[in-house]
């Protein structure tokens, strides 16, 4: 189900995402140039990459506030994203949206929508269009464990099932909505119970394990291409605060043991250790890779910093479509 090429590609994508977000975190308060809320996916990279590596460029994805990993994993342009986060005119939405509002037609990234649950019905509509016009695509709707509590999720499951839509719901379960643990919000952390009740098949797996995620996603997406909806729950964990660049472990809303458990399960190190152990890559490769990545990342930030802000007189542009 997974070959070395897949692993190498997935690893690269995850490394890149991690490096980008580490850099955002590092510069966020130092530079004060990314003046918008940022929700980092550090710790959750395997979910985005494990799914998106199985997608074709003709497939669509929709995402939420925590969207950087999804965007990059789908092939989104690093420069466009970093410029957008810097509020620059050459950002992927021209500075109109910032970190939470990425949209990029060129890679069928139909957008991140920061109101929790808001993107799910949009994804349903995309799937309906695909199905009616017999397009050769599927749509993936990424959502968090919090979004599971919104009515829109449940309405959407019913739609997917009734209309037999080519949609994959990926629930990234990081156990928290901001600082509130799932046990204070729901009676179970197993969301397959909701796909079950809609007769939608589902799989739950370790979202920090790239290989598991990739192989499950691969199998599942084959089904979705036959216009069968599916739900994939990926258990994972974010390493920094809900919104912003820092750790917030001192707040103690997350149990120390839980935290350590997950830190040990870092998806990037995990796959890297495995690749080294199996001689898929060696240290030399990693060193070269790291510096290549670092160069790209730095160059994106440099571009963003020297790019112009949008003109205030353009604020009213795109108010209405012609």
């Amino acid at each position: 189900m997974i070959n070395n090429k897949n692993i190498i590609k997935g690893h690269l994508s995850m490394k890149m995402i991690r490096a980008v977000e580490d850099e955002i975190a590092f510069r966020y308060y130092k530079d004060q140039l990314m003046r918008c809320p940022v929700h980092l996916s550090i710790g959750q990279e395997a979910a985005a990459v494990g799914v998106c590596e199985n997608l074709k460029s003709s497939d669509y994805i929709l995402s939420n506030h925590r969207c950087h990993a999804h965007y990059l994993a789908k092939g989104g342009d690093l420069n466009s994203m970093i410029c957008e986060i810097h509020g620059k005119a050459n950002g992927c939405v021209g500075g109109r949206g910032g970190s939470m509002h990425l949209q990029d037609d060129s890679v069928n990234f139909l957008g991140s929508f920061p109101i929790v649950g808001s993107a799910i019905p949009l994804a349903i509509g995309v799937a309906m269009n695909i199905k009616r016009l017999k397009k050769n695509s599927i749509v993936v709707s990424f959502l968090g464990d919090g979004a599971v509590e919104e009515g829109s999720f449940h309405e959407s499951l019913n739609f997917a099932s009734v209309f037999k839509l080519p949609i994959l719901f990926v629930v990234e379960n990081n156990y928290y909505s901001i600082q509130t643990h799932i046990k204070d919000r729901q009676v179970s952390d197993n969301f397959t119970r909701f796909s079950n009740s809609n007769l939608i098949p589902s799989t739950r797996c370790d979202g920090n394990n790239f290989i598991d995620t990739f192989t499950n996603a691969k199998k599942i997406i084959k089904e979705v291409r036959k216009s069968k909806p599916y739900l994939l729950q990926l258990d994972t964990y974010r390493f920094v605060e809900h919104c912003g660049p820092n750790s917030d472990d001192h707040l103690k809303y997350r149990d120390g043991k839980e935290l350590n458990h997950w830190l040990k399960k870092c998806p990037v190190s995990h796959i890297e250790r495995l690749m080294l152990k199996n001689n898929i890559i060696n240290q030399e490769y990693l060193i070269k890779l790291n510096s290549q990545i670092q160069r790209k990342v730095i160059s994106a930030f440099n571009l963003a910093i020297r790019s112009p802000l949008p003109k205030s007189r353009d604020a009213s542009k795109y108010s209405y479509a012609k």
């Binding site: 309906m128 269009n129 012609k322």
Partner: protein, 361 residues
Amino acid sequence: MQNKTTYSLSESLRVTLERLMKKDKRIILFGEGIDDNSAMFQTTKGLTKLFGKERVVEMPLSENCFTGAAIGSSILGDKVVVNLQRVEFSLLALEQIFNNAAKIYYGSNGQHMSRTVFRMVVGRGWGQGPVHAQSLESVFSSIPGLKVFMPVFPSEGCQLLAEAINDNNPVIFIEHRWCHYNLEKFNPWKINLSQKINAIKKLSNGKDLSIVSNGYHSSEIFTLLKIFKKFGISIDHLHLRKLNPLEIDAVYSSLKKTGRLLIVDSGQLKQGINSEILSRVFEKGLNLKLPPIRMGLPDHPVPSSRGFIKSVYPNYLSIAENIFKLLNIKKDKSLKIFNQIDSIIKRTSVDVPINDFKGPF
């Protein structure tokens, strides 16, 4: 069918949907009960047979989801008409409409469009009550990114619906239930559907007073002014059928002529379209001979019982009274006019648009 000479607004809308859907496969319909016997007040009757269940899509009872789905599907190029039998059902979907439909073009820097039309019916009469007779047109027209059209007469209904469907922006298309019964002699199969129409249509030409109205009141005033004309009272009647974008140059030029203004708004009086019109006139510094008068819905919900209704909607009498006031018409003349109005009023009950209307909705 095509040999009829007179069409109601609801018939006209149906014909228009059929004509447009025949020409453009991207047009699809979403809604609850659009494929059943009631067929969205007959406006979607038979369309499933013509275009199939994939284009006339009967929806589960999930307004939020299917509104979002309409937007999502339109991002990929569809033109989706969402059919809601009541404005109120949209309240479950305003997050989608305000945040996604209204903002996707702006927020995507022009990459994506929401080519959606949200048909919503404003209920009235037959005891509809608090949550089946709300007027939310002013709420929608205050949201940047939405357009708001409101047809009253059959032929303009065809044109507005075509314009809405072909618009690249989300359009809130508000139909006053009673307007569905309005009749016009014309052929909806022949009417030009590719020509854009003005926001305001002048329904009568006069020099003493400018009346701006929208929704069902436009047809009431149309009737009313026939009586006033007989008494030599000459009124400029401007019927506003596009609420957003609000283009009211015609109001300014009318006021320059008449110097007197009455606005009869189908929506809430407070912070309504009427307030915006008055504000613009005021800002422009146009000099009026008398302070303007505006009418609209009062600051409470619409009650069910017909006993209450007289104090809820602007009606023939209250509109006439304000015309008298603005034109300073003497008691004896106004009494004569009142008498003629009375004969219209007596024709139908207060809670139905036409005599054989029997509800339920």
